[in-house]
Symmetry: C2
Subunit: 367 residues, 2 copies
């Protein structure tokens, strides 16, 4: 692969120095920042997440903060999900959509209080988007990207580590709920959350000068559980059926096509962006759905940087959006964004670099 060149358009996370000290080997860009992608031992990093506890710099999950009299109203206008029952200290997974009903991001919305919300975003510019909608509607709300950078602690032993640092109360914290805490003078928001299905927490660091300190506190507290560095793991997340916005979606993907229909409430007010389009799409039936795809053969294929066509009877029926060698299934698996006419169990062909590989469609998730 190629070197990533320095540029001031690509920001570093507060945990950058800590990850360099841990031996980070690669990055990719995410929200105009550098996101670690590995520490030199992919196999150990995978099993550490599955069986132990792993520490991830996910500072690239930026917050878009809404503050002011109309903050709650704007949060709802941007989210086609009923937020009326969202409590202070609670988070909700939402499918932000544009006016055509296309998913433009899939953040966690955190309700700090009635006048203050964070969208903890995936890889697209929601700062510009939300400012455009707020200003065009004349809302009384301030929108900024605050100095808040999550550090994830993930894996079955994450709870023990986080409890060792912050106390046993964290064991009672419900999924996507959070609480403001402080450790050695470092302010943070502690949430049960994270982009894996192995359980864990995200520590939303609220002082960018203290990244290395926070990393080291968790690193040291975790040593009895053999904590080590990691990052969002493409094998685990595909096995677990977790969506990567922008990787598994395109410029016409609606929430119903990518298993997000359960997070859409069609009876939200008419002023919610995209709700008219979503009602129409739901009534007409979306064109595609997201399935699993398992390739024939047991030779690991490298991770890919482009979508591949999926064919049935010689005709294109969809795309394989991401694929990976599954360490648990010992098969190459992936996500198919594919015609509703295709169902789990059916055989298809994958057109890859001039070859055709036989494959079978499956349900999601794999685990």
């Amino acid at each position: 692969m190629f070197e990533i060149s320095p540029t001031t358009r690509l920001r570093r996370s507060p945990f950058f120095e800590a990850t360099v000290k841990e031996g980070v080997t690669g990055f990719y860009p995410y929200n105009q920042m550098l996101m670690p992608t590995g520490f030199g031992d992919p196999e150990a990093e995978y099993w550490r997440l599955l069986n132990g506890v792993s520490l991830w710099d996910v500072g690239v999950e930026r917050q878009v903060e809404l503050t002011g009299r109309d903050a709650a109203r704007l949060a709802q206008i941007l989210s086609p999900r009923d937020l009326t029952k969202c409590a202070e200290g609670q988070g909700k997974y939402v499918a932000l959509c544009n006016h055509a009903g296309t998913v433009i991001n899939d953040p966690i919305l955190l309700k700090l209080d009635d006048r203050r919300f964070w969208f903890s975003i995936a890889d697209s510019n929601i700062l510009f988007w939300s400012r455009a909608i707020a200003a065009e509607r004349g809302l009384d709300v301030t929108i900024v990207e605050p100095d808040v950078s999550p550090l994830a602690v993930q894996g079955p032993k994450a709870e023990d580590v986080v409890a060792a640092v912050f106390g046993d109360w964290v064991r009672e914290l419900k999924y996507f709920w959070f609480r403001e805490v402080e450790i050695e003078g470092i302010p943070l928001m502690l949430a049960r959350s994270g982009w894996s299905k192995q359980g864990g927490f995200e520590l939303y660091l609220m002082d960018g000068t203290r990244g290395t300190d926070l990393w080291n506190i968790v690193r040291e507290a975790g040593s009895p559980w053999d904590i080590g560095p990691g990052n969002p793991n493409s094998c685990e997340r595909i096995e677990s059926g977790l969506l990567s916005w922008g990787g598994d979606t395109d410029d016409g993907t609606n929430p119903f096509e990518v298993r997000m229909g359960r997070y859409v409430d069609l009876d939200v007010p008419d002023d919610v962006v995209g709700i008219g389009a979503l009602r129409r799409i739901k009534a007409e039936g979306p064109a595609r759905h997201q399935l699993g795809i398992v390739l024939d053969g047991d030779a690991p294929q490298p991770s890919h940087a482009t979508w591949y066509d999926i064919l049935q009877n010689g005709r294109k029926v969809g795309d394989m959006t991401n694929g990976v060698w599954s360490r648990r299934l010992e098969r190459n698996i992936g996500f198919a964004l594919i015609s509703q006419a295709c169902s789990p169990g059916e055989s298809v062909e994958l057109a890859k670099d001039g070859n055709q590989i036989s494959a079978k469609l499956t349900d999601l998730p794999y685990f």
Copy 2:
């Protein structure tokens, strides 16, 4: 530096394969795509641009296409510059601003006809932005990112090369004007343009499957002039005073602060986004301006990935946003985004990695 990891969130340019064959050594991300950053011989690449002709993959300069009855109206609403005299086949450099008057991109606007425009954008999401404004205002316009990827031919001998391929008429083409042409069945828009001050053209490839073909046509036609690969050159662009949006600007930079005031017309209609804020800022006077900064000493400093504080009398007065070793001046030079109270000729200190380096403020451009 670090490896850039493969991800389907990071797209390749149609010229990717050609640049790999040319020996590209690094990339950085730009508009969610890979942009080549060098071919292994920075000194030769610099002088080739200054004295010869250089071929650049700038496919990352994506187009945001506005089509339809209200396309012209939306182009004006998004641009605080009078477009009434913009002719078909003409381009204009514009400072897109948000409602607060902050620059959110600095594209070239190309008027294809009365109902069709391209914003040829810098590194931020103007597709989402323009869709938000258009939908909120109920405009009849379709907004897409078309299959259009520029290839730049830059340097004093670029005109000879482009004339050899397309004919001598290109010598008469005015700056930022363009014309639709075809070469060996490849459709493209040919413009006199490019992100250097050495002269040249951009070939807006309109068929992404023909990238290697177009690269090779220009490469072969250019061999009598010793054409070679290159990319937007940070040394040349800083010497020439060219702005890098997002690299030299922050979330509060208005056009007057970065020498774009001449592209702002305060008498555009009141419905232009940000015009109210821009009138206020102009009346009150912007807080900062952009100057050059020349560091003492003659040891080349590496290019940097963060801004550095500029101090005067021990107090922070601004930031050095980008800096480079100037091969022509044989000094480390850069851009200062600095208080209006500071003027060219004054001495300052640069706080860099724990050291203070004496420096002098200068006018821009350097050449």
